[in-house]
Amino acid sequence: MIPAIRGSRWSLALLAVFAVAGLARAATVEEIALMNRADRQKILVEGARKEGKVTWYTTLIVDQVVRPVKDAFEKEYPFIQVEFFRGNTERIVQRMIAEYQAKRYEADLIDGTVSPTMVRRAGLLQRFNSPMFADYPAELKDAQGFWGATNLYFFATGYNTRMVKANEVPKTYEDLLNPRWKGQMMWSTSRGSGAPMFVGTILGTMGNEAGKAYLQKLKLQNVAKTSASNRQVLDLTIAGEYPLALQIFNHHAYISKAVGAPVEWIAHEPATATINNIGLGKFASHPHAAMLLVDFILSEKGQRVYQQSNYLPAHPKVPAKQVDLKPGGGRFKRAFYINPDQQYDKGNDWAEYFENLFMK
């Protein structure tokens, strides 16, 4: 060993004490999250074995995807139990923040299009490092490592195929201004998945001036507004209430069409895209297990579970099960990615612009 201390019993004893203390001092959440060494996997597995579980606050649908991910993950790591709590964005964030403030560190991971960002702004999110980040392009991961993308949402216009003839289908944003559609369109007022995101896309892609001019013209089309979710807006279109549903998820139209509904979707280039992402709680009680779950979700294997659940995987190498739901799959080429920070920072402005222009 170290020659200098050989022979000194006291030194040896002291060394032993330090060694034990060093082992006993658990690594902090930060150290575990940012670990970047060869035996990372081994350390995570050992730690997770002791933790035994991980709690995931999620906005995703339990039966469709959360449970399949849980099953696949637990098959890989049988000694870890995945527990989850599902709710919409604001609710899970409010809950996690309130619990953390009361020092009840129940949530390890949180996902959503904007939920991790909210937790981060409250100072309660931990940066992390995952070997899987290497596979993702810059727009699908956070530069500082606060979040990684799990799956994507693409917005499109849904239309009732019995009310809209093939040659009438509005192909571009400009086509929506056709007088034929005046009073024939509906959209949701939802900040995160409705009209405000449409406004953001238009202002972001056309530029402020041209964008605003376009929206002024769209206002004259009298698009009907509702607080219903965009899924319900699409259902009203299927029921024949409004021929066109603006800013709906393309996979919703696909699912309905698959069971025979008279509905089809068309994306206008570039289509709005939002990113469902996952982040780690700053005081996670099960950081080792949490990191293993994040690695799994971001891995190709985990992404295939999303794919098989008909979600649109974020991983560039994993296509959608229905290939054409993602850009480059044949139906549309470009997407305008609204990342979580933009959604958080500019979302209010877009929502207010929408309210002032369309709702006064």
Binding site: E90, Q101, T189, S190, A224, T226, D235, L236, A239, E355
Partner: protein, 564 residues
């Protein structure tokens, strides 16, 4: 009487402490929310009057204010007329089919709110069956009826509230003194004269309670305005509050300021109402002389009354329910047609029954309903007894305190309760108890309206006779008041039971993975699932609720009548 006074003091202290414990913390939060900006962490940040300034600016714009006013007054009047007429037919006349009234009230109120509204939109929408037939009838090519209008808002909102009116006024009609009406008839008054000058006047407290509650709830509601009014560009005062709440970080200040303003208005109203009913003797219809009102013989008109009941059930229940049932057996929604008949499927029911933890959710929701209905009714019965029977000074404050929760914005109240029990070392967080506490607080105002107007009708001589005969306060309560109050007590109990099954704004925050409830499951389906799956789930849930309500009602009525 000295011992009675002591009992009153003890009851006053107990009731005030319990009510204060439930109501004051959220009240504090609501006021605080309205006066401070909050950080993302939910901590209060800076003092501001901005929310009040915004509110007053909004109030100056005449459009939204008038819309809100028309909407609330229209719904309150229409719901009261509708529910009141049906209650009168069911309780006071010899019309056929009277049992239908109760069933319709339970079943239509048991239907999940969102589903009920969607049912009406699909029914009255541009492409719906009503417009389809109207178009043929009037030979038009465009839709005749526009549901996305003030008319649609008032119609759907009043239909939603009419079971509440029905249950409350049915209770009041049941406790009517026949001798006053008979005296009127003996003096040669016609039936409608007796109705107008005797019966309806005696019912004043009940009418007031009903109208007040509906007016307030409608005034501050945003659901129907956002789902029905918004597509037709009808803006109400709550529209901007609703939009504010979905900003990030969520802004609940405007909701807080709005509810504080309403509280002031309601406090003033209650104060005057309290003075009005202080001479409560005028409304005492249940005396020692026997009070079972006689059934009015309608003669030939009874068939018309029976037909009215049928139409009411058909409109309130059958129509929207058929649409929901129809949606639940289709792979995707389509208008009622022969084509649809060929596609019927039970797939949605299979999906609904596989919803995660569905049996737990049903069990929890039923338990919560039973618990909150029973607790609220007992608490408010005692509170009403204090308000009506004792002369303790300042008791109108108790009336106010029991009414305030009506005005708390659900989300602000939910957050207040969440935070309170995270920091206070009472281990209810994450259990069903926290939901029970929230529900009880939320529904005290309904309990108090039912029991207050019910108790006003009981003459105090009945209670005094009991004391004179040597009965204790407790046994007088149990053997005299409670049995005589059965109609109001039952009406309130069932209403709260059904209402708590729908509660959402607090539940979404307070449920834990171990304590799922049905309303949250329905909300998840509403946000993410297709209409058919939502409908299937709703049909199952409505069936369960109605079964529980009918069993309880049959059981409790028999028990109550035997006591008499």
């Amino acid at each position: 009487m000295a011992s009675r006074f002591d009992v009153a003091t003890v009851v006053m202290i107990c009731v005030s402490v319990v009510t204060g414990y439930l109501v004051l913390p959220p009240l504090y939060s609501v006021i605080q929310t309205s006066l401070f900006t909050t950080k993302l962490t939910g901590e209060i940040d800076q003092f501001t009057l901005r929310y009040y300034e915004d509110l007053f600016r909004e109030l100056q714009i005449i459009g939204p204010f008038l819309n809100t006013f028309y909407f609330s007054i229209g719904s309150a009047v229409f719901a009261t007329l509708l529910g009141g007429s049906i209650a009168w037919i069911v309780v006071r006349t010899d019309s056929p089919l009277r049992g239908l009234g109760y069933f319709t009230a339970f079943a239509s109120f048991g239907t999940p709110f969102i589903l009920y509204t969607i049912g009406w939109l699909l029914l009255l929408g541009k492409a719906g069956p009503v417009n389809y037939w109207l178009k043929i009838l009037f030979d038009q090519t465009t839709p005749v009826l526009n549901v996305y209008s003030m008319f649609g808002m008032v119609l759907i909102e009043s239909l939603l509230w009419s079971p509440f009116v029905f249950l409350m006024l049915a209770a009041a009609f049941r406790s009517m003194d026949p001798s006053l009406e008979e005296a009127s008839a003996a003096c040669g008054a016609r039936m409608w004269q007796t109705m107008r000058r005797i019966s309806l006047r005696l019912m004043l407290p009940a009418f007031f309670s009903v109208m007040l509650l509906i007016f307030i709830r409608t005034f501050e509601s945003f659901e129907i305005p956002a789902l029905v009014g918004l597509p037709g560009d009808i803006r109400v005062l709550t529209t901007s509050i609703y939009l504010d709440a979905q900003k990030l970080p969520p802004r609940y200040g405007s909701a807080g300021a709005f509810s504080v303003l309403l509280m002031v208005v309601v406090a003033a109203t209650l104060y005057f109402y309290f003075r009005l009913t202080r001479e409560g003797d005028r409304y005492q219809t249940v005396t020692g002389k026997g009070y079972r009102p006689t059934l009015i013989n309608l003669g030939r008109w009874r068939y018309l009354a029976g037909a009215a009941l049928l139409v009411y059930s058909f409109v309130l229940l059958v129509l929207p329910f058929l649409i929901i049932l129809w949606a639940s057996v289709l792979p995707y929604y389509m208008q009622p047609s022969l084509e649809g008949l060929g596609k019927l499927t039970i797939k949605n029911y299979v999906t609904a029954l596989h919803f995660p933890k569905i049996t737990d959710a049903i069990k929890n929701s039923v338990l919560l309903g039973l618990g909150s209905a029973s607790f609220v009714m007992v608490l408010t019965l005692l509170a009403s007894w204090l308000l009506v029977r004792t002369k303790i000074r300042g008791r109108w404050l108790l009336d106010l305190m029991t009414t305030l929760p009506l005005l708390f914005p659900g989300i602000v109240m939910g957050l207040a309760i969440l935070r309170f029990y995270l920091f206070v070392p009472i281990p209810v967080y994450g259990t069903l108890w926290i939901l029970l506490i929230a529900f009880v607080t939320r529904y005290i105002p309904y309990g108090i309206r039912y029991t207050h107007s019910g108790l006003l009708q009981l003459h105090k001589e009945l209670e005094e006779a009991s004391y004179v005969s040597g009965a204790s306060w407790f046994s007088s309560m149990r053997r005299i008041i409670l049995p005589l109050m059965t109609p109001s007590f039952l009406g309130g109990w069932i209403f709260i039971f059904l209402l708590s099954a729908k509660e959402l704004s607090m539940s979404v925050l307070l449920v834990s993975p171990q304590t799922p409830v049905v309303s949250v499951a329905i909300f998840e389906l509403w946000e993410n699932a297709q209409v058919g799956e939502l409908a299937a789930f709703g049909v199952i849930w409505t069936a369960i609720l109605v079964t529980v309500a009918i069993i309880y009602y049959a059981f409790a009525r028999r028990y109550g009548i035997q006591q008499n």
